[in-house]
């Protein structure tokens, strides 16, 4: 790894922290406290299921919103404010800048997820009084959520390398929604005929498959996550994020910074 990438990444992380991005943790903590107390009163026998479902879905949504809304500004804001000029006039390659920004935001999301995970486990402890062996699979679900964040962050960076922040947000959020139904899209493609089949199959494999990265429901029911699935989804997320980053770099390398 280039020696300059960690510096750009740590500065990106510092920007997120100083811009009070981690304040979302307060809202999340309040949500989890409220959910734990409320669920304890209205749910009988399914408190754990409700808390895990609610908690992990909230972790995912909070993170996706942060990934998109910070990710889309990572490049465009630097160009607009011209802070990029004094960075790129140093021995910093454009690809190093993109990759550094990616790792900086990914690091922010991992730290954010870590604190949110603590809140989820505390809520879980509150409703069931003790941890169970199956709770370990919550960690696997959190890991899958982080893999989703890596893809979304890379996509947000990709879009922000050539379009406006607003359009980038629309594109990235649309892909997140479509990707969450990727399995349904593949099912539809299998049933379709002729050109529609080809188009639907192409679209189904082009959009990120977030539905296979969503194991929240099965984990909430205490089901294990297969090691093979963890390995294949890890490889998928890394390859997809790397391709989106390569696209961002290719576009950014050619861009005139007016």
């Amino acid at each position: 790894m280039s020696s300059r990438i960690p510096y750009i990444a740590s500065n990106t992380f510092r920007e997120a922290v100083r811009d009070r991005v981690l304040y979302n943790l307060i809202a999340f903590a309040v949500l989890m406290c409220g959910a734990a107390i409320l669920v304890g009163q209205i749910s009988i026998g399914i408190e754990r299921l409700v808390v895990i479902n609610l908690g992990l879905t909230a972790v995912s949504l909070f993170g996706v919103v942060i990934a998109i809304f910070i990710g889309i500004g990572l490049v465009s804001k630097e160009i607009e404010k011209r802070t990029l000029y004094t960075v790129l006039s140093r021995p910093v390659q454009r690809w190093e800048f993109i990759v550094g920004k990616f790792f900086g935001l990914a690091g922010t999301l991992v730290v954010n997820t870590f604190f949110m995970a603590i809140a989820v486990f505390l809520a879980l402890l509150y409703v069931s009084q003790r941890f169970q062996a199956a709770d370990l699979w919550v960690l696997a679900a959190l890991y899958f959520i982080i893999l989703q964040f890596l893809i979304i962050t890379a996509l947000a960076l990709f879009f922000s390398s050539f379009s406006s922040p607003l359009l980038s947000a629309v594109f990235a959020f649309s892909l997140f929604v479509i990707g969450s139904f990727a399995e349904d899209l593949r099912g539809f493609a299998a049933m379709a005929q002729g050109a529609t089949r080809w188009l639907a199959t192409g679209a189904a494999y082009l959009v990120p498959n977030f539905s296979s990265l969503n194991v929240i429901s099965s984990v909430a029911h205490g089901q294990a996550v297969a090691a093979r699935l963890i390995a294949s989804e890890t490889a998928y997320a890394i390859v997809y994020a790397a391709m989106a980053l390569c696209g961002a770099v290719l576009i950014f390398e050619r861009r005139n910074l007016k």
Binding site: Y7, N11, E15, Y85, T86, S89, P91, N256
Partner: protein, 313 residues
């Protein structure tokens, strides 16, 4: 070896949304800047100065032509470790303190960890901000940000400095400090390439200047050589309260003030005017040569209406 070699650098932008049309920001520019000199790049607003600097920094790509800086291609990281750049009206990460910002730039410049702290503190003192290193940049005034901009440009002790409008936003003391700093840099053997439309600064500092207008190079050379090409003038003052008719034909612009008359005429008309005044038995008070300034050369190279709009002296 020339510090900067510009070989036919050209930039054309495509403007318009539906029907793109070309807009030439820089016509083929050929220019050499020697090592160790202070070189002024002059022109009115929108002349193509910032475009040239962005091309040299690799921030925009040329439509045609090329440039070499310190013998390297424009995007060569080895070269970039040896240059410093101050953009026009710089804006920095305002969530950082001045010390944090400069430390970040020192890291990006590849400066050794053991030197960073000392160098950051030294350079803050050098630009007149020794006590505000711990203050967030969002609390800085425009002039202080300009000083931070200069600090980040000289931080890593570069051989060649590019300053885009370095005096912009500075008060008279700040401008004097920057002029002194540029002199210091030159004395230390550095090359300084700076763009400005403040001609008095360029005249006071530069070994050579280039004048650019509408993306086209209009003149380049030492200030003395350029100004010597402009026709010299003399100021003639004589006793009187009106201008004789035969003198009016020689000096169109005469100003009567109380008991004296003042006229500025080309040096070639000086003897004829003096003879005419003597014939009318008018008493000549003084005949003073007027030093030709860079501004006059600049104005000559531009259309008068445009020069008046873009130039402050």
């Amino acid at each position: 070896m020339a510090a900067i070699e510009i070989l036919g650098l050209t930039k054309t932008y495509q403007v318009g949304f539906w029907r793109k049309r070309p807009k030439c920001a820089l016509r083929p520019l050929h220019l050499n800047v020697e090592e160790g000199e202070i070189f002024g790049f002059l022109g009115p607003n929108g002349a193509g100065k910032t475009t040239t600097l962005k091309l040299l920094m690799g921030l925009v790509y040329p439509t045609a032509g090329s440039a070499r800086i310190l013998g390297c291609e424009v995007n060569d990281p080895r070269m970039k470790a040896q240059i410093g750049f101050l953009p026009e009206q710089p804006y920095f990460y305002d969530y950082l303190t001045a010390t944090e910002l400069l430390t970040y730039y020192a890291q990006l410049s590849g400066m050794a960890a053991r030197d960073r702290e000392r160098q950051v503190s030294e350079v803050l003192g050098r630009v007149g901000l020794p006590d505000v290193g711990g203050m967030q940049l969002r609390k800085f005034s425009k002039g202080m940000l300009q000083r931070v901009g200069i600090a980040q440009a000289i931080l890593h002790n570069p051989r060649l400095l590019f300053f885009d409008e370095p005096m912009s936003g500075l008060d008279p003391i700040g401008r004097r400090d920057v002029r002194d700093l540029m002199e210091e840099l030159k004395n230390a053997g550095k090359t300084v390439f700076f763009s400005t439309h403040i001609l008095s600064d360029a005249e006071a500092l530069c070994d050579r200047v280039a004048i650019i207008h509408q993306g086209e190079l209009r003149g380049v050379g030492a200030v003395a050589d350029l100004t010597s090409s402009v026709e010299s003038k003399v100021e003639v003052i004589w006793r009187g309260n009106s201008v004789p008719a035969n003198v009016k034909t020689l000096a169109a612009n005469c100003h009567v003030t109380g008991e004296t008359v003042r006229a500025v005429v080309p040096e070639t008309s000086q003897e004829v005017l003096i003879d005419a005044l003597r014939r009318d038995r008018l008493r000549i008070v003084s005949v003073t040569p007027i030093r030709t300034s860079l501004e006059e050369y600049f104005v000559q190279k531009l259309k008068p209406s445009e020069a008046a709009a873009g130039v402050r002296s």
